[in-house]
């Protein structure tokens, strides 16, 4: 059983309930396969093989301490992501939705490829000044993520970037690169989905074939 922190709770609050007060979820754990469980009140995660009696015990402070000592209670350190399992009704409504015109409410990896029609500036937030995706000749490697300069205006700190683009690295992404690609650069645009305990919601852009030499400047540093 895991006691979920506020970030995990926010992640779950952005997803639908499975029933009143609980969510059936799949849990991606670091270095392991998926597991299943149920989250109560977005706070207590009970793995599917665990007895529900743990839920009653956790509300008593002395029992909670005992559970921690016996390692029956964790704080979700190994959780990479939590996803609510969609019911059949939701899945069928999703099928209907997919017949509608494509929106940008999903991640960039699911978006259709497009060509840049006019000059536009992009930003890339990184925890590393020596960002490996930026080539020595100041281009971007194929398959590199960034965001629009417009969306980047919402980001004032490195931690803002971690939240807005649902980055798994908790180190603040304080190094900001600017990308000025030429028109006809191939892109995919989407919205960063909640993951790694972060809410996401920012615009994400994939440079499908990268960006040519001399199109990247920076980094400039922002506060952590």
């Amino acid at each position: 059983m895991e006691l979920l922190n506020e970030d995990r709770q926010s992640e779950l609050l952005s997803q639908p309930e499975s029933g009143m007060g609980y969510q059936n979820v799949t849990i991606m754990l670091r270095g392991e396969e998926e597991r299943r469980g149920t989250v109560f009140n977005t706070e207590y995660l009970l793995y599917s093989e665990e007895p529900v009696s743990l839920l009653q015990r956790i509300t008593e402070p002395s029992q909670r301490l005992l559970m921690s000592e016996r390692k029956e209670l964790g704080v979700g350190e190994r959780i990479l992501s939590l996803k609510v399992i969609q019911s059949e009704t939701r899945l069928s409504s999703r099928v209907r939705e997919s017949s509608l015109p494509k929106t940008t409410s999903s991640g960039a990896d699911e978006a259709a490829e497009e060509e840049l029609q006019e000059e536009e500036e992009f930003k890339r937030f990184s925890a590393y000044a020596n960002d490996r995706r930026v080539t020595p000749s100041r281009g971007l490697l194929p398959g590199t993520y960034a965001t629009t300069a417009e969306d980047a205006k919402q980001v004032k700190t490195g931690r803002d970037a971690v939240k807005r683009y649902a980055l798994p690295n908790p180190k603040p992404a304080v190094h900001v690169f600017t990308i000025d690609p030429p028109v006809r650069t191939k892109l995919k645009r989407g919205i960063a989905q909640p993951a790694y305990g972060q809410p996401g919601g920012g615009v994400e852009v994939i440079f499908v074939k990268g960006s040519p030499d001399k199109t990247v400047t920076g980094p400039v540093q922002i506060p952590p």
């Binding site: 270095g31 960002d131 993520y145 960034a146 970037a161 980055l167 960063a192």
Partner: protein
Amino acid sequence: MTIRLPEKWTRFLVRQPESGMGYQRVDVRLANNRKIKDVVVFNAEEIELPDDCGQCEIEEMRIHDS
């Protein structure tokens, strides 16, 4: 635990697409044949592995297919 990757894996990873801004999700096979799925690599150089894998050599790596 975070482990710095040997340069050969960094060179491999920079030729692969990212999974998100600044990171890649990969599957690895260790020298002891243990397979670990969906681990995160930051900046093509720092991999997050379970604590008991600190001394293990990576034999095989590929981008995780989600």
